[in-house]
Amino acid sequence: MSVAGLNFRHITKRYGPVVALDRFSLDVAPGEFMTFLGPSGSGKTTALNILAGFTSATEGDVLIGDRSVVDLPPEKRNVGMVFQSYSLFPHLTVFENVAFPLRLRGASADTIKQKVGSVLDMVKLADFGGRMPNELSGGQRQRVAFARAVVFDPPVLLMDEPLGALDLKLREQMQLEIKRFHAEIGCTIIFVTHDQGEALTLSDRVAVMRDGRIAQVGSPQDIYDRPESQYVAEFIGRTNLFQLRRGQGGTWDIPDLAAAVSGIAEANLSQAALSVRPEKIRPVPAGAQADQIAFDAKISDVVFQGDHVQYEAVAQGGKTLIFQDHRGPGSELLPKGLAVRLGFSASDAVPVERETA
């Protein structure tokens, strides 16, 4: 089977009074790497389970390709899946684990040998076919799980927090490998994680989930640079939020910074805030510049992190904010207590919907 796209159509899942998924709709293009990102309880795993067939939707439909799958048992959906704890069959060798889906599909011994061989080759475990799962390292198991999930060329591959059990270094390495595998295989991937870094690194698109709904869906860059809500802005990376108040003549006041900004198109935000990423704020020379919002502040904390320095500063009005210096040529650390003038470009400031607490 070739690569297929999939569509979630108004999926609702209720557990008694609890709504786990609320009219969840999403279209995924063939070959796309789509990540469901969200904290636990946001509905991302429920969506995955409904897609895999482990749970049934209360309402709505799921299509793989152009086929509705909601009434099919898991084994008929022809999706590959990588589990959080790998879920390798402990009583079978690596080879037999990978051969498992092929045997169930009645493949010939030759086909099995050839396919398992090539997929083990791809995950660089060609010599490990005879090992038992408990003789492998975490990363190796992960790769076996991946090999097993794709050996039968499923049009869709599901990955449920597959890197959660690995340590940081291995995780980063595996991220690159998964990227490579995806490029090689080209199948549609639904990837579930609560790690925003992972989501940004791997995905073509990210669906940020919240309370059973999609808060925002878009490319990693979209999500990062143009969050639509305070929730998304704060969940992805770090950010500074400044309250916005409608000013006069199309301008907006920023009371925290005793400044004003104009040219914000999305004026219809009822409860608006301005999200400014820490790396967009930097010390500026005195004197106003066009398209620049500047204010006076005092450095209150300095955190040295090697490739960059993170500063905490208190604006004159008392608002605490953070900014980063990425240490270009000739940069020096600013001492704690230093009074500085900080500024950011209006185009780097993103108006978002503010949380109504």
């Binding site: 895999a52 067939g53 482990f54 048992p73 898991p74 084994e75 959906r77 022809n78 999706v79 590959g80 899946m81 589990f83 959080q84 704890s85 879920s87 069959f89 402990p90 009583h91 498992f100 889906p101 169930l104 599909r105 097993r148 999930a149 039968f152 599901l158």
Partner: protein, 277 residues
């Protein structure tokens, strides 16, 4: 610090083993060989008279049948319990444990009430019109087997259940999503993974059956005499040496059979699983 420095933790167990297992076994050997002078007549009697060989073979046969029946009945029950929600599992396990609070003697007597000529079963069969005359059920091999299975079943259920709770349910999901029908997931993943625990349960039931004596004594006829019955009989007759020889033979047979069962059981099970898929 190596693991060796903690070897002393085994001392109490070792002492108990020596005191309550090895020493009595050695004494058994002594009692069977000295009566009061060294003699092998008791073992010779065991080996040369066909009747005792018959009893040994019967003991092994009955124990095997009981162990296999307990497994065939107990495994699905354990599986069923394992599928229930947590709270219901607790209730079901509790229900299964209840009969184990009663002594084997009482449970065996209950079978007399059920299987007797004027017992519940005969009356029920007569009431439905299936039989005119009461059928002899008591003092038959069937009665012994039924009661032994009933008495030992909870042990196999609990052992299987314990093995099943160890199995990560994601493995079953993995099998399903990779293309296994429910039955295939059961046969290829769940069954092999619970096999070890199941064979352990089978061996435990077998071992307990080998020493059964109240049930065959009360529910069986003379054709159901097992080694333990012979031992009790010989002790009553004050034939201590012959009883000791019987006891030793029972011990050895049980050990040999356990080793065989564990090995063969696993091998056969593997083969059946492979061939059946």
């Amino acid at each position: 610090m190596s693991a060796r420095s903690y070897l002393w933790l085994f001392l109490p167990a070792l002492a108990l083993l020596l005191l309550f297992i090895l020493a009595p076994a050695a004494d058994l050997l002594r009692a069977s060989m000295f009566d009061p002078d060294f003699t092998t007549e008791h073992f010779a009697r065991l080996v040369t008279r066909g009747v005792y060989i018959d009893v040994m073979l019967r003991t092994i046969r009955v124990s095997l049948i009981v162990a296999v029946c307990c497994t065939i009945i107990g495994y699905p029950i354990a599986y069923f319990i394992n599928l229930q929600p947590r709270s219901r599992q607790t209730i079901l396990l509790f229900l299964i444990l209840i009969p184990m609070w009663m002594s084997i003697l009482i449970r065996t007597f209950a079978w007399i009430v059920v299987l007797g000529r004027d017992g519940l079963l005969n009356e029920a069969l007569a009431a439905v019109g299936l039989i005119d005359e009461p059928v002899r059920m008591l003092f038959t091999s069937g009665a012994v087997l039924a009661a032994m299975v009933q008495i030992l079943l909870p042990i196999q259920i609990l052992t299987c259940y314990a093995a099943m709770t160890e199995i990560d349910f994601d493995l079953i999901r993995a099998a399903r999503v990779l293309g296994a029908k429910p039955r295939q997931a059961l046969m290829r993943v769940f069954l092999p993974l619970s096999l070890d625990g199941t064979i352990t349960g089978l061996v435990i039931v077998f071992m307990l059956s080998m020493g059964f004596f109240i049930t065959p004594a009360l529910l069986g006829g003379r054709q159901d005499t097992m080694i333990a019955n012979l031992i009790e009989f010989q002790v009553q007759r004050l034939n201590w040496s012959f009883a000791a020889a019987l006891g030793l033979v029972l011990l050895l047979l049980t050990i040999v059979m356990i080793v065989l069962l564990r090995g063969l059981g696993r091998m056969a099970a593997r083969r059946i699983l492979k061939a059946g898929l």
